[in-house]
């Protein structure tokens, strides 16, 4: 093996050139451990070569992403790519430690990559400023591991479906382990997914149910909470009075307008508690985020990537073992590490259509609206069809017009109990299959 790596053969124990700084890492990698599989782990050059040769894709250069890039670089990884479409905002500076006040407005991926490369010479980080959807399968095929540090469920579902779709049973290299981290305040999770082999993000979707929306009639006629007044200004009043202006939730003038409207409405109904900060929180759906939780979850993800690539210790996520670590830090420190199971009816990695319980007396419109909120679907712009017919398409316009009358019809007129229904959404490349079950 050592001969293969001739050009940069690492010399152990820090005596030679180049690897002195990796003494901590090399000590671990040059000795067998109490948990290592002797078949999989050959101490010495092999795991070091694995680190040298691995290509890692990091999705997201925000709170988790900054930590992940630093951790990978200091775990000895040499080839890293990072994707992020965002620019740096002042509210990022309380945790995204690769950014300074002077960087506000610049692309996160670029600034983060430059900072880490400066601190860790020899590590190549290639930034891409844009969306994950800009890239095709050939691009994703280059990597050995994909690590996500995202705050969007939609982006996670997209990359998950893409990686599952790429798996070719005849080509083991087409299986790209996906390591996903997420945080909210003092809580978070890290999970390892082997696409098609273990439970995927779509299998686990109902564990991350969206918050129930407030009914429109409450907002319009009987507000009770300050949040109701803000949502009224956001959803109803802006449409009524400023239809021609696209709402930019990062524009303080726009937030101020909503705040004033909400405050006026709150006064009218004797509701207390509307503040600018709350307005911003509701309108932008702000989730609290702190440096410590990001550090914990990012490090957990990178620890799994390191174990996966070097075999220096067993990683979680192998079939039949734990693959999900849930972390809670607001009362003591608590983790729950378990095996999330694959679902045979997972719309992405399963073979069977998923059961969808519906009321046959309901209209198609009600069903289309509910697909956004149901924990098991969470599809915002669904197009619905059965084997025979298109029931409703939100685009293109011609098809929308043609299918619109169906929205008012009852489901029992359009579907049979037990019939299979396909739902697509422009945000996802695949069709979700459901088997209709009349309630």
């Amino acid at each position: 093996m050592a001969a293969v790596m001739a050009p940069n053969a690492p010399v152990m124990n820090g005596h030679g050139s180049g690897r002195a700084k990796w003494k901590h890492l090399d000590t671990l990698l040059s000795r067998p451990g109490a948990y290592t599989d002797p078949e999989a782990f050959v101490p010495g050059e092999v795991p070091i070569a694995s680190l040298d040769n691995a290509r890692i894709l990091v999705i997201g250069a925000g709170g988790l992403g900054c930590e992940i890039l630093k951790n990978l670089a200091l775990s000895g990884f040499k080839n890293i790519d990072v994707i992020d479409m965002d620019t740096i905002d002042v509210s990022n500076l309380n945790r995204q430690f690769l950014f300074r006040a002077k960087d506000v407005g610049n692309a996160k991926a670029t600034v983060a990559a430059e900072f880490v490369m400066k601190r860790v010479p020899g590590c190549q980080i290639t930034p891409y400023v844009g969306k994950i959807q800009d890239k095709d399968e050939d691009y994703y095929m280059q990597f050995n591991v994909v690590i996500c540090g995202l705050d969007s469920i939609e982006a996670r579902r997209w990359i998950n479906a893409t990686l599952v779709g790429m798996v070719d049973m005849d080509n083991p290299d087409s299986l790209k382990p996906l390591i996903d981290g997420g945080t909210e305040g003092f809580k978070g999770q890290s999970r390892v997914i082997l696409p098609t082999m273990t439970s995927c993000i779509e299998c686990q979707l109902d564990m991350h149910a969206p918050r129930a929306a407030v009914p429109l009639c409450t907002l319009a006629t009987i507000p009770r909470q300050p949040q109701h007044c803000i949502e009224w200004a956001h959803i109803i009043k802006w449409e009524e009075e400023r239809k021609d202006i696209v709402l930019d939730t990062d524009d303080p003038a726009h937030i101020t307008w909503l705040y004033e409207k909400a405050l006026g409405r709150a006064k009218e109904f004797n509701i207390e508690g509307v503040t600018y900060s709350m307005t911003q929180g509701v309108v932008k759906n702000i989730i609290p985020a702190i440096a410590s939780t990001n550090a914990i979850i990012a490090a957990s993800c990178c620890n799994e990537a390191f174990k996966l690539v070097t075999s220096a210790a067993p990683c979680i996520g192998m079939p039949g073992t734990n693959n999900y670590m849930q972390y809670t830090g607001d009362a003591g420190v608590y983790t729950f590490t378990f095996e999330a199971e694959r679902k045979e009816d997972c719309p992405v990695c399963g073979n069977l259509p998923k059961d969808l319980s519906i009321d046959p007396e309901q209209t198609l419109e009600a069903l289309v609206e509910s697909l956004a909120e149901r924990p098991e679907s969470q599809l915002k712009k669904p197009n619905v069809s059965t084997g025979q017919k298109s029931l409703y398409y939100s685009s293109p316009a011609s098809l929308e017009e043609q299918t619109r009358p169906n929205l008012k019809r009852k489901l029992k007129e359009l579907l049979d109990d037990g019939e299979e229904m396909a739902v697509t959404d422009p945000a996802f490349a695949i069709a979700f299959r459901y088997k209709v079950r009349f309630r």
Binding site: A20, K21, H24, L25, T27, L28, R31, G33, A34, Y35, K70, N71, L74, S75, S91, N94, R95, K118, S190, T218, A220, T221, I222, R224, Q225, W232, I236, P252, T256, E260, L263, G264, R265, K267, E268, F269, I271, Y276, I286, P288, A289, I290, A291, S292, T293, A295, I296, A299, S300, N303, F306, A313, I316, N322, M325, G329, A331, V333, T335, T337
Partner: protein, 552 residues
């Protein structure tokens, strides 16, 4: 109504400042008071080993705005630091990692630790210095954190003051509801009667807007008329639930009432943790300089003696209702909470007088209000001294021996890993390197597995020490551990020790970063005095991706 002309709002006073914008995502967690506490804090980090865990913790404390830091570290930056410490660069080579102050001379003056809000010490460190820091922190009641991070395992211990009370524990909002449905006061009862007077004949639309709290009070009343008692048992409650269902008529508010029966129809209780605070010696014997916490606790105790309940928190969950009905209901709860708090405040003022408290120490009203609101969820930590081994001797677990012994049969417990870390400290305390191994251990600490040649022997020594500790714990508890549990546990401990020796003191950056994250989180809780913290040991097992806590 939506089309009515909205009056021009007053000029805006609460636009966010630059600081509020920067810290927005954390102010939503610990608020302005927590932020002020962080900004006024001064943390001392003591590092003698590679120290990455401590540095990563500091990063997570600099970011949210902790005011001041000092680092005590006399090591010189060497090449191996660059591969694991992100905050050193090539140009740092050969320089001091921090200010040059030998630890021994620093610790000779007791006053030197005075300026610090909190101390953070990373292993390995020489035994005498650690003991000295521990004792100084105990004497001055300064919170102390002590960390290990070796290979895939890590640990930290927290030494808190003897009394560390937390008022803002931030409980889960669903756990905090206290609606007093089985003990309503007259204003609430009258309102509910008014709202449900003609429930049977009400138009469907009106029926669908009766707040569920009023519905429940109505059915409780009906139950009492029928059965001559309040619905207190599980069976009684399901009977009330069936009454709600029978008249439900598919309305959302009836659904809400149905769902709330089991959790809301409980007589108001006082949690045992709160009773402990109310009966604590500090609450009972106030002095002119008692902290405000104990004084308010005494006032609350008086309230409880008089009414057998805690002051009403006053929050009402959102529920299907017309705006003005909901606001009226909210006002009824708020007024009652205000009245309860006024009574507690009056007690506080009279206690201030009777204890001769100086006017400067007068307790602000908002502090009393906050205490009343959180009274059911206050939390008191009785800080315990950091457990230090005496080199070459068996450790003692004192009054915790029984509880820790029971950890040994819990498959989720990381007690075995804790014993391995204690054995690590014994190893470093009883071994000195022939010559200083390298510049990053100038105090002459030798870690197990430092050289390839000693690896196996060190692992065996570590294991043997940890096994002795295991036996010491079992003996002290007086509760034997039978096979196969005993042998399995010994084998598990041997694995921990072998893996620790394998690392030869090396920190893996991921594990140091994870541990630094945990430590900074706990430091934030201690400094802000909010949230419930680890009491008092936390362990991380990075192979199986698990964490756990112990109280030693």
């Amino acid at each position: 109504m939506a089309n009515d002309r909205v009056p021009t709002p007053p000029p805006l006073h609460d636009l966010p400042t630059a600081k509020e914008k920067r810290y927005d995502r954390q102010l939503r967690l610990w608020g302005a008071s927590g932020q002020v506490a962080l900004e006024e804090a001064h943390i001392l980090l003591v590092n003698t080993g590679s120290g990455v865990t401590g540095i990563e913790a500091l990063k997570n404390l600099v970011l949210p705005g902790v005011g001041q830091f000092s680092i005590l570290d006399s090591a010189i930056v060497c090449e191996e630091d660059l591969g694991v410490n992100f905050f050193l660069e090539d140009e740092s080579l050969g320089k001091f990692r921090a200010e040059e102050t030998p630890l021994e001379s620093f610790l000779q003056k007791d006053d030197n630790l005075k300026p610090f809000t909190l101390l953070l010490v990373g292993a390995p460190i020489d035994y005498a210095s650690l003991r000295k820091i521990r004792d100084l922190a105990l004497a001055s009641q300064t919170p102390l954190f002590y960390t290990h991070c070796i290979g895939f395992f890590s640990h930290f211990s927290v030494q808190l003051p003897r009394a560390f009370p937390v008022v803002d524990t931030h409980p889960d909002p669903t756990a905090t509801q206290d609606l007093r449905l089985l003990k309503p006061w007259s204003e609430l009862q009258d309102f509910a009667k008014r709202m449900t007077d003609d429930l049977e004949t009400m138009a469907q639309h009106d029926l669908g807007h009766v707040p569920y709290v009023c519905l429940l009070l109505h059915y409780i009343d009906k139950y009492r008329t029928q059965h001559g008692k309040l619905p207190e048992s599980y069976k009684d409650k399901t009977a009330v639930r069936d009454m709600v269902r029978a008249e439900g008529k598919d309305e959302e508010n009836f659904e809400e009432a149905y769902a709330a029966v089991l959790k809301s129809l409980n007589p108001p209780t006082i949690p045992s943790a709160v009773r402990d605070v109310l009966s604590a010696p500090e609450t009972q014997s106030l002095t002119s300089v008692s902290s405000s916490f104990w004084l308010i606790a005494n006032a609350i105790q008086r309230f409880v003696t008089k009414y057998s309940v805690l002051p009403l928190p006053g929050a009402v969950p959102d529920m299907k209702a017309r705006s003005n009905d909901y606001i009226t209901l909210q006002q009824i709860y708020k007024s009652k909470a205000r009245a309860d708090c006024a009574e507690v405040t009056a007690s506080v003022r009279s206690l201030e007088k009777s204890t001769n408290r100086s006017a400067k120490l007068e307790i602000p009203v908002n502090e009393i209000e906050n205490f009343c609101k959180n009274a059911a969820h206050i939390h008191l930590v009785r800080g315990r001294p950091l457990q230090l081994i005496t080199p070459g001797e068996k450790p003692s677990f004192g009054d915790r021996a029984k509880a820790l012994r029971s950890e040994l049969t819990n498959p989720e417990s990381l007690m075995g890993l804790y014993l391995a870390f204690l054995a690590f400290d014994d190893f470093t305390a009883t071994h000195t390197p022939p010559v200083p191994a390298h510049p990053s251990s100038p105090t002459g600490v030798l870690v197990p597995g430092a050289s390839d040649s000693a690896l196996e022997a060190d692992a065996a020594k570590l294991t043997s020490t940890a096994h002795t500790y295991l036996d010491a714990l079992i003996n002290e508890s007086g509760n034997r551990l039978e096979d196969p549990e005993y042998s399995d546990l010994r084998a598990e401990i041997e694995k921990y020790c072998t893996e620790i020796a394998r690392a030869g003191g090396a920190e893996l950056h991921n594990m140091a970063s994870l541990t630094g994250g945990l430590v900074s989180q706990e430091i934030i809780k201690v400094i802000t005095g909010q949230y419930v913290g680890v009491d008092n040991v936390c362990l991380v097992e990075g192979v199986a991706s698990r964490m756990g806590t112990l109280k030693v």
